[in-house]
Every structure is written in structure tokens, then in C-alpha cells.
């Protein structure tokens, strides 16, 4: 292949990698909204916490993989705890109060992180096993870690699909999103289902943060940046739809990556223009239920 073709291929790989990572975060957000009806501004903070957790654990253990093994259960447990202590009081409340409580939570998380780890920018080394590049031409190559990252994201997306479509828990989750009382009267502990769904959502965001840590620096504002892009993703895809989140994330990955290459002056605005176009064309999002609520 010629150099321009390879260059194009690299951009496509970058776009897919970014899109998949975004999907992990956005799927957690849309899952929590679709099933419990909660709008969670602190979702980006979970991504940030995941990245910092990866940094701290990798620093302590010296191994990125070991850090993942420690950090993922921690994130899941953190999700269970948060649901029990705070979020279950929000199900019956207006979206306005959910927004405010989770806004307060962002401030707490940001300052908590500042107290514990500081406000410095950190880096997490790429694991040795994947710390090489795959040569594509004489001058161009592609880092193996990024390819592995995309593969891991795809596996997680597949597992998520199986969990929701093929398992008993998944059945309870889907049923619970339609009729909470009916599920309860059938003898399923809906409170427990909600707790697990919330923890899964937190873990997905945190896991994305952990995976992203070696490719980008770990910095204080990373959570809010990803939150905004996640909202755009969910608005484009249709809120509550995992399929929509996947499509939205991929679209944003492509627009953002190719925008940075071919239209650098306006690349920062392209994602918002995409959202504006979807709002004009299909206000409920590409896969949204008929009316935007």
C-alpha cells in the first residue's frame, strides 16, 4: 500500500480506538439512565478515578495488569457503595435534583483526588508486553498497545451484550427498565438489580479510564472532558439505547479524528456541529424512543 493509504488506515484505527473507549464510558451512562432514570453528571469522574486508580496501583505494584486486577473490583465495590449511600434516594426525585446532587459529587471527587493524589499530571507506562510498534511502512508504524486496547474494548462490548441479552440478570435488567413494580411482584429484588447495574456502569467508566491511562496523560480535568463528549454521544445515539451509544461513539471517533487531520481550525467544534445536526434532523437521537422526553 502507498503511504497516503497507510496514513488513512492509521487515522481509521485511531478513530475506532477513540470511539470504542468512548463507548465504554457512554454505555455506562446510558445504562444507568435507561434503567434507573438517573442523569449522572459524576459519570466522568468515574473515568477520572479509574485513570488515577490505575496510576496509583501501577505505581505501587509495578505492573499494569496487576493494577487492573486490583482496580476493577475496587471500582465495582465503589459503585455498590455509592448506590447504597446516595443514588437510591434519587430514583423518585426530579432530574433537577439528580443534576445538583451529582454536581456536588463532582466537586467532592475532584477535591478528594486533589487531597489524596495531588493535582499533578501523571503518566502510566505502557505495559512491557505491548510496548512495541507494528511497522507499516518504512516511516509509519502503529503502537501495539492501541490495537490491544481496541480489542479489549470490543471484548467488553461483546460481554455487555451477552450479559444483557442472554442472562437471567440481563432479563431482570431489561424488565426493570419497563416496569419496576411488575418485576418486583415476580419476586426479583429490584433494589439489588439497580445496585448491580449502577456498579456495572461505574466499572465501565473506570475501566475505560484505566485503559486510556497509558495512551494519554492522567490529569485532573479528564473526567469532565469525557463527560461532555459522552453526553453528546448519548444525545446523538438516543438516550437509554446501548446500540445508539455504540453508533454515536463511533461517529464521534471518526469526526473527531478526521476533523483534527483535515480541518484543524474547527476540529474542536465539529462534534458539537454533529450534535446540532442530529438535533435538527432527529431530536430524539438516532435510536431514541419516538419522543424526546
Amino acid at each position: 500500500m502507498s503511504d497516503p493509504a497507510i496514513f488513512f488506515l492509521i487515522q481509521v484505527l485511531n478513530a475506532v480506538q477513540y470511539g470504542l473507549l468512548l463507548f465504554l464510558v457512554a454505555s455506562g451512562l446510558t445504562l444507568i439512565f435507561g434503567i434507573m432514570g438517573i442523569i449522572n453528571l459524576a459519570h466522568g469522574s468515574f473515568y477520572m478515578l479509574g485513570a488515577y486508580l490505575a496510576f496509583v496501583c501501577a505505581d505501587a505494584t509495578g505492573s499494569f495488569w496487576l493494577a487492573l486486577v486490583i482496580a476493577v473490583p475496587l471500582a465495582f465495590g465503589f459503585g455498590l457503595l455509592l448506590e447504597t449511600l446516595l443514588f437510591r434516594f434519587l430514583y423518585a426525585r426530579d432530574h433537577l435534583y439528580q443534576v445538583l446532587l451529582t454536581y456536588g459529587l463532582i466537586l467532592v471527587f475532584e477535591e478528594g483526588r486533589g487531597l489524596l493524589v495531588g493535582n499533578d499530571v501523571h503518566g502510566v507506562p505502557v505495559p512491557a508486553l505491548l510496548n512495541f510498534s507494528i511497522p507499516l511502512t518504512a516511516t509509519l508504524s502503529y503502537p501495539a498497545y492501541r490495537l490491544a486496547l481496541s480489542a479489549i474494548c470490543l471484548v467488553v462490548a461483546g460481554l455487555l451484550y451477552l450479559l444483557i441479552q442472554k442472562t437471567r440478570l440481563g432479563m431482570a435488567i431489561r424488565a426493570g427498565s419497563f416496569n419496576r413494580e411488575m418485576v418486583q411482584s415476580l419476586g426479583i429484588d429490584i433494589g439489588m438489580v439497580y445496585r448491580v447495574v449502577f456498579a456495572i456502569g461505574v466499572t465501565l467508566a473506570a475501566f475505560a479510564g484505566m485503559l486510556a491511562a497509558p495512551t494519554t496523560s492522567v490529569f485532573p480535568g479528564m473526567g469532565n472532558q469525557v463527560l461532555i463528549v459522552c453526553f453528546v454521544t448519548v444525545v446523538i445515539g438516543g438516550i437509554g439505547s446501548i446500540k445508539g451509544a455504540f453508533l454515536g461513539a463511533m461517529l464521534i471517533g471518526l469526526v473527531d479524528t478526521f476533523g483534527a487531520v483535515y480541518a484543524p481550525q474547527i476540529s474542536g467544534m465539529l462534534v458539537y456541529m454533529l450534535m446540532a445536526a442530529v438535533l435538527i434532523w432527529r431530536p430524539a437521537g438516532l435510536f431514541g424512543r419516538a419522543a424526546a422526553r
Binding site: F33, I39, L41, L86, F89, R93, H95, L96, Y97, V99, L100, L101, Y103, G104, L105, I106, L107, V108, E110, E111, G112, G114, L115, N224, I228, F231, V232, V234, V235, I239, G268, M269, Y272, M275, A276, L279, I280, P283, A284, A292, R293
Partner: protein, 315 residues
């Protein structure tokens, strides 16, 4: 609180604010001016959230437009013309609100929250990258606006202008809220479908409310930039949008005077905590969480707070 009582409180409050420069020092006057500016900002959002039922999480975008308008209209090291720059800043915010409003009002509910936040952040990210706006560091405004005998940089001129703006904004919003237009907005908040079937062009009502709220937010932003002499992208950001929403809720939604109370409480708390510790966001966040869980009806109505406590004890 009954209407008489409220009127008495407002008149006393106004008298105190007018007399304040006689016995308060510069620090306290600056703090009071900041509270009044935030009160204008919070009142403008209350028109959307409390009266029309539109929860915007990107209201700081228009605050930022007003602030940056003053920066762009100020000659380098010189003072902007007050009579020109103030209306232009407000108009710029109104135009921005019109454009954004046409887009965001296509959705409602939780979509509206997410889309307003996203568009607000669009302004933020644009400003961080735009060299003509000073980039991520922002820019300085070296002199406050002035005109003929009024120099906002001297004496108490700035304080009194902000006080006049606050009183005028309050009167305007109070009249608006009790006009047929305000009642229509309340109707839309209650049941938009029914209002539409009654023949109200609800989309137009909501857009007008959005533009008015944006213009007033721009006015507040203009004063903020004039007071502190600096603009930076944070003025567009989600943190300010969230803080002003908190002010509205603290004061109790849908009561224009409540927004003033909410602004005072939050600014004073921020000031107090900021003096106490550099990690003031932590107690602030905890306060917000506690307020949401314990004070669903805000602070403006003491009787309601008491009722909530009693209900909890019984229930």
C-alpha cells in the same frame, strides 16, 4: 411568608444596600456587589427553571458572552464607553441565546439538560483555543467602563450601578412573572401539551423566555468582567452553570426574590470556606449534596423547611 411581609423585607433590604457604603469598607462593598451580580444571574436562570420549567445547565455560556463582550469593546489599557458597551454586551448575549435556543428547544426534559451543558462547554472549549479571546489564560480589562461624569472605576459608582441593575432586573422579572406571558410559561411548566391544545404557541413562549434569560445573564457577565477586570474561559464553564442552578434551588424555585437569597448564601459560603481552606470545594460539594437531600424546597420559605422536617419525623 405573606405578601406584606415579603414587601417589608425587600424594602428593608434595599434600604440597607443603599446605606451600605456609609458604614461598610471596600472589601465588604466588593463582596456585596459580587452577590448582587450573581443575584441578577440567578434570577435570570430562575425565569427558565422556576417559572418555565426548563432546567438549563449551560446558562453560564451567556454570562461569558456578556463578559467577553466587554473585553472586546474595551480599548487596550483604556476604558470602554458605558452607554455603548452595556447594551451591546446584553444584545450579544441575547443573540447567542437566540441561536442556541433554536437548537436546544427542540428537545425537553433530560435531553434539554444534557444539550444545554454540551453547548455551554462548546463555548468554553472554543474560548480556550481562540487567540482573539486570550486563549485558556483569558485576558485583562485594565479600566472599568465610563461615560462623561460616571466613571465606574471611581468612588461608589460601580456599586450603585449594580444595585440599580439588580433592582431593575427584579422589577422586570417580577412584572414578567405576573403578566399573561409569565402565566403562560407556568402553564407550559405544568403541562405543555394542554397549553398547546389551548392555542398557545408554546415553542415561541419558551424561546422568548430563553432569550430574555440569556440577555440578563449577559448583563450579569458584563458587570462581573467590569468588577474583576479579567475574563477567562471558566466564565462559560459547567462549574458556574451548576453553581447558579444551585443558587436558584437554594432560594426556592419560581420566586424571583429567592434567587437573591440563594446567591447571597452561596457566595458568602464560598467566601467563608475559601478563607478557611484551599480545599473549599470539598465542603462546598458536601453542602450541596446535603442541601439536595434535606432541603427540597429551598431556604426562602421557612415554613416549608419546618414542614419537611416534621413530615420526615412522622414518616
Amino acid at each position: 411568608m405573606n405578601r406584606r411581609g415579603l414587601q417589608a423585607v425587600l424594602v428593608i433590604g434595599l434600604a440597607v444596600l443603599i446605606a451600605l457604603p456609609v458604614f461598610a469598607g471596600k472589601y465588604d462593598l466588593d463582596l456585596a456587589a459580587k452577590i448582587m451580580i450573581m443575584a441578577i444571574f440567578a434570577m435570570s436562570l430562575d425565569l427558565l427553571v422556576g417559572i418555565a420549567g426548563m432546567v438549563s445547565l449551560g446558562h453560564a455560556a451567556f454570562f461569558g458572552v456578556g463578559a467577553y463582550a466587554l473585553y472586546l469593546l474595551s480599548p487596550e489599557y483604556g476604558a470602554a464607553n458605558l452607554i455603548v458597551s452595556l447594551p451591546v454586551a446584553v444584545a450579544a448575549a441575547a443573540v447567542a441565546a437566540l441561536i442556541i435556543g433554536l437548537l436546544v428547544l427542540r428537545v425537553s426534559g433530560v435531553y434539554f439538560i444534557m444539550v444545554t451543558l454540551a453547548f455551554g462547554e462548546m463555548f468554553y472549549y472554543y474560548a480556550t483555543g481562540a487567540r482573539w479571546l486570550g486563549g485558556s489564560d483569558g485576558a485583562y480589562i485594565y479600566q472599568r467602563p465610563q461615560i462623561a461624569l460616571v466613571d465606574l472605576g471611581k468612588g461608589h459608582a460601580f456599586y450603585f450601578l449594580v444595585l440599580i441593575a439588580l433592582a431593575a432586573s427584579y422589577m422586570f422579572l417580577h412584572i414578567l412573572a405576573h403578566s399573561p406571558f409569565g402565566h403562560a410559561l407556568r402553564g407550559i411548566r405544568g403541562n405543555e401539551h394542554r397549553m398547546r391544545s389551548l392555542g398557545f404557541a408554546t415553542a415561541r413562549y419558551k424561546l422568548i423566555a430563553f432569550v430574555i434569560a440569556g440577555a440578563l445573564a449577559g448583563l450579569a457577565g458584563y458587570f462581573d468582567a467590569a468588577q474583576f477586570g479579567v475574563v477567562n474561559p471558566e466564565l462559560f464553564g459547567w462549574r458556574l452553570s451548576g453553581a447558579v442552578l444551585m443558587m436558584v434551588i437554594l432560594g426556592g424555585m419560581g420566586r424571583v426574590h429567592g434567587a437573591i437569597l440563594g446567591a447571597a448564601v452561596l457566595v458568602l459560603l464560598e467566601n467563608f470556606l475559601g478563607d478557611l481552606t484551599t480545599h473549599w470545594l470539598l465542603p462546598m460539594g458536601l453542602f450541596i449534596i446535603a442541601a439536595v437531600l434535606l432541603l427540597p424546597r429551598g431556604l426562602a420559605d421557612p415554613a416549608a423547611i419546618w414542614r419537611t422536617i416534621r413530615e420526615r419525623r412522622v414518616g
